[in-house]
C-alpha cells in the first residue's frame, strides 16, 4: 500500500523505507521551535533532565512574539529566561524585539523551514509550514525540551484526509474562507490525530500566503498537520531563502485516505466563524446584524503581506466607522517594512486604524486589544473560544482580511460588496 506525503516525510526522517498509519517511530528533526510562553517551560524541563547542552544549536529557534514587546514584568522575565538560555547555549536563531516577527510568518520568511522538513514547535500553529511541503506539528514544552536534548521526537504515524481542490476562488474570497469552510464541514475534531492533505488543480489558484493560512488552521480541525504539494508557487517562495535543499515528497497514487472531499473553490463564499468555536462557520446569508466594537487584522493566520494588501485595498480612501477600534498588525518586521514601502501604512492611518509592531498580543487575549464585557470583534485570527480575546462574555468572529476590513468601515459584520 502506498504512503501519503506526510507519511513519506516521517519515514525519511526515521530512516525507514515505509511507515503505516498507527506505527510509532522516532524521527530526526530539522527544526524545533518555542516562543516566550512555551520556551520558559521547555527550558525548565531541559534543566530538570540534567542535560547541559542542546544537541544541535543551529536547529533550534526561539521567537519572542507572544507577550513581546513585553506587556508586564512577568512577561519580561519570561523573555529574559529565553534570552539567557539562548546565549548560554549559543542558539543563534533567537529572535528578540527588533528582529522578531510572529513565529509562523517569520520562520518561512527567513528560510528556516521548507519543503521536506520535519519540524516540531511548542506552539499549536506550527502546522503552518505544510504550505511549503513540510511536515510540521505543534507539541508541548516537554517534547520541545526532549527535542532540544536529542534532536529527535517520537511520533504516531497519522492517517490522512484528502481535500481535492478545483477551480478558482471568486472575488473577495481567499484561503481563510476555504479553511473556515472546511472546519465548518468536518468540525473542530473532524481531523483529530490525522493529516489534512491538499491537492488538485485548484491548488495553483491559491497564493503561498493563502496556503499558509489554510495549513495554519489545520489544528482547528484537530489535525496533526496540513500539507500542500510543492509546485512552482512554493518553489518560487523558497528560492533564495530556504537554507536546505528542497526535498519533494508526493503521495503515492495508491495511498489510503480515511476520507476524500472535493471542493470547488469557485463556489466558496466569504465565510465567518461565529462564537465560540471555529466550526460555527456561516456564509453571509446567515450573518444577520452583528454590530462590532473592534477589528483585528494580523496574526500567524493572516498577518502576511497579501493580507495587508487586501486590508489596504478595502480601506483605501475610506474611514473606519466611529467607535470601531481597528488594529492592524503586520506579522514581521519585513512585512511591516514592505507595508511602509508600498504606502499601506499611510492608508491604514488615514482610515483611522492603528498599526502595531509584530506581536501575537490580541489573538490570545494577551494585550494590545483586549475586549471588555459584551464587546464583539471581527478578527483575522484563528480562535474564537470563550474569553479568547478578553472578557468571558466578549465575542470573536473569525474572518478573512476582506471581511474584517469591510466590517471595520461599516461597523458591523459585512462583505466588501456591501460598502
Amino acid at each position: 500500500m502506498g504512503m501519503t506525503a506526510s507519511q513519506k516525510i516521517l519515514a525519511a526522517h526515521a530512516g525507514l523505507k515505509e511507515v503505516k498509519a498507527g506505527q510509532l517511530i522516532s524521527a530526526k528533526l530539522d527544526l524545533v521551535l518555542a516562543n516566550d510562553i512555551t520556551g520558559p517551560v521547555a527550558i525548565r524541563e531541559f534543566r530538570k533532565s540534567g542535560a547541559q547542552k542542546v544537541a544541535e544549536k543551529d536547529k533550534i529557534a526561539l521567537v519572542m512574539d507572544h507577550f513581546a514587546p513585553n506587556k508586564d514584568i512577568k512577561s519580561a522575565e519570561q523573555c529574559k529566561t529565553c534570552r539567557v538560555f539562548a546565549k548560554e547555549q549559543g542558539i543563534e536563531n533567537f529572535y528578540d524585539v527588533g528582529k522578531m516577527g510572529i513565529e509562523h510568518a517569520l520562520l518561512p520568511e527567513l528560510g528556516l523551514v521548507g519543503a521536506g522538513d520535519l519540524v516540531i514547535g511548542a506552539d499549536s500553529h506550527t502546522c503552518t509550514y505544510g504550505a511549503l511541503g513540510a511536515f510540521s506539528t505543534g507539541v508541548g514544552s516537554t517534547d520541545m525540551a526532549a527535542g532540544m536534548i536529542s534532536q529527535t521526537c517520537w511520533f504516531k504515524v497519522p492517517s490522512a484526509i484528502k481535500f481535492i481542490l478545483h477551480g478558482k476562488p471568486a472575488k473577495y474570497v481567499c484561503g481563510k474562507d476555504l479553511i473556515l469552510h472546511i472546519i465548518g464541514m468536518i468540525g473542530v475534531d473532524g481531523a483529530l490525530y490525522k493529516s489534512m492533505e491538499f491537492t488538485g488543480d485548484g491548488v495553483k489558484n491559491l497564493s503561498i500566503d493563502d496556503r499558509f493560512t489554510v495549513c495554519n488552521m489545520a489544528i482547528e480541525a484537530g489535525a496533526k498537520n496540513g500539507i500542500f504539494p510543492v509546485d512552482e508557487v512554493a518553489l518560487d517562495y523558497m528560492k533564495g531563502r530556504f537554507k536546505r535543499p528542497v526535498r519533494i515528497y508526493e503521495a503515492d497514487a495508491d495511498a489510503e485516505y480515511d476520507a476524500v472531499y472535493e471542493i470547488d473553490l469557485s463556489t466558496l463564499k466569504p465565510t465567518v466563524s461565529f462564537p465560540h468555536l471555529p466550526e460555527n462557520a456561516r456564509t453571509p446569508d446567515k450573518w444577520g446584524d452583528v454590530a462590532i466594537d473592534q477589528v483585528v487584522i494580523g496574526s500567524c493566520t493572516n498577518g502576511r503581506i497579501s493580507d495587508m494588501r487586501i486590508a489596504a485595498e478595502i480601506l483605501r480612501g475610506r474611514k473606519v466607522k466611529d467607535g470601531v477600534r481597528t488594529i492592524i498588525i503586520p506579522a514581521t518586521q519585513s512585512v511591516y517594512r514592505q507595508c511602509l514601502d508600498e504606502g499601506l501604512i499611510g492608508i491604514f492611518i488615514d482610515a483611522g486604524a492603528i498599526v502595531s509592531t509584530p506581536t501575537c498580543g490580541p489573538c490570545l487575549g494577551g494585550y494590545m486589544g483586549i475586549l471588555a464585557e459584551g464587546e464583539r470583534a471581527v478578527s483575522t485570527t484563528n480562535r474564537n473560544f470563550v474569553g479568547r480575546m478578553g472578557h468571558v462574555t466578549s465575542e470573536v468572529y473569525l474572518a478573512s482580511p476582506y471581511v474584517a476590513a469591510a466590517s471595520a468601515v461599516k461597523g458591523k459584520l459585512c462583505t466588501p460588496d456591501e460598502l
Binding site: 512555551t38 531541559f46 533532565s49 507572544h66 507577550f67 514547535g121 517534547d143
Partner: protein
C-alpha cells in the same frame, strides 16, 4: 498514586483557553496556574476542587493551544485524573509528558454524574463510581507510559532512568 475523589463534569471541546486563559500565561509556576484553572468555564472550580478529585468530560478535551500550562494547571489544582470520550492530540501527549493521568472511556462518561465519588486504577483501567456502584473499564496505558506518569513526567522519568543506567 491514589485516584479517588469527587467528579467535576464538563461537555465537549473544553479548550485550553478556558482551562488556563492566556492572560495568565506570564507566570508558569504551579501555584499561579492552579489558582486560575478552569476560571472562564467554571469560576467555582478553584474554590471547590480537592486533592484527588476527577474531571469527566465528553469529546475532544483540551483542544486548541499547545500550552503545556493546561495539563499543568489541572494537575496542580489537585485533580488526579481526567476521563473523557476523546482528547485533543497535543493535550493527550502533554498530559502524559507532565504526568497527569488521563483515560478514554465513553461508557464511564455516559454514566458518571457531577458530584459522584469515583476511584480508578491506572494499571487495570478500572473506573468505579462509588456513588452508584457501577464499574467501567478503560484501555490501561502500557507500563512505560504508567512509569512516566508515576515519575511525574517524561523528563523526570528520563533523569531517573539515566541515573539507574536504564537508558
Amino acid at each position: 498514586m491514589k485516584i479517588d475523589g469527587k467528579v467535576f463534569r464538563y461537555g465537549s471541546d473544553v479548550d485550553t483557553d478556558v482551562i488556563i486563559p492566556a492572560r495568565y500565561l506570564n507566570d508558569s509556576s504551579e501555584a499561579a496556574l492552579a489558582s486560575h484553572c478552569m476560571e472562564d468555564i467554571d469560576p467555582d472550580f478553584v474554590k471547590n476542587v480537592k486533592k484527588g478529585d476527577v474531571i469527566v468530560a465528553e469529546d475532544n478535551f483540551g483542544c486548541g493551544s499547545s500550552r503545556e500550562h493546561a495539563p499543568l494547571a489541572i494537575k496542580a489544582s489537585g485533580i488526579s485524573l481526567v476521563i473523557a470520550n476523546s482528547f485533543a492530540r497535543i493535550f493527550y501527549r502533554n498530559a502524559i509528558n507532565i504526568g497527569l493521568p488521563i483515560m478514554e472511556c465513553p461508557e464511564a462518561v455516559k454514566a458518571i454524574k457531577a458530584g459522584d465519588e469515583v476511584e480508578a486504577d491506572l494499571s487495570t483501567g478500572i473506573i468505579r463510581d462509588k456513588t452508584t456502584g457501577e464499574s467501567f473499564t478503560a484501555e490501561p496505558f502500557p507500563e512505560f507510559i504508567r512509569r512516566i506518569i508515576d515519575d511525574g513526567g517524561l523528563l523526570n522519568n528520563l533523569a531517573k532512568r539515566s541515573k539507574n543506567n536504564e537508558l
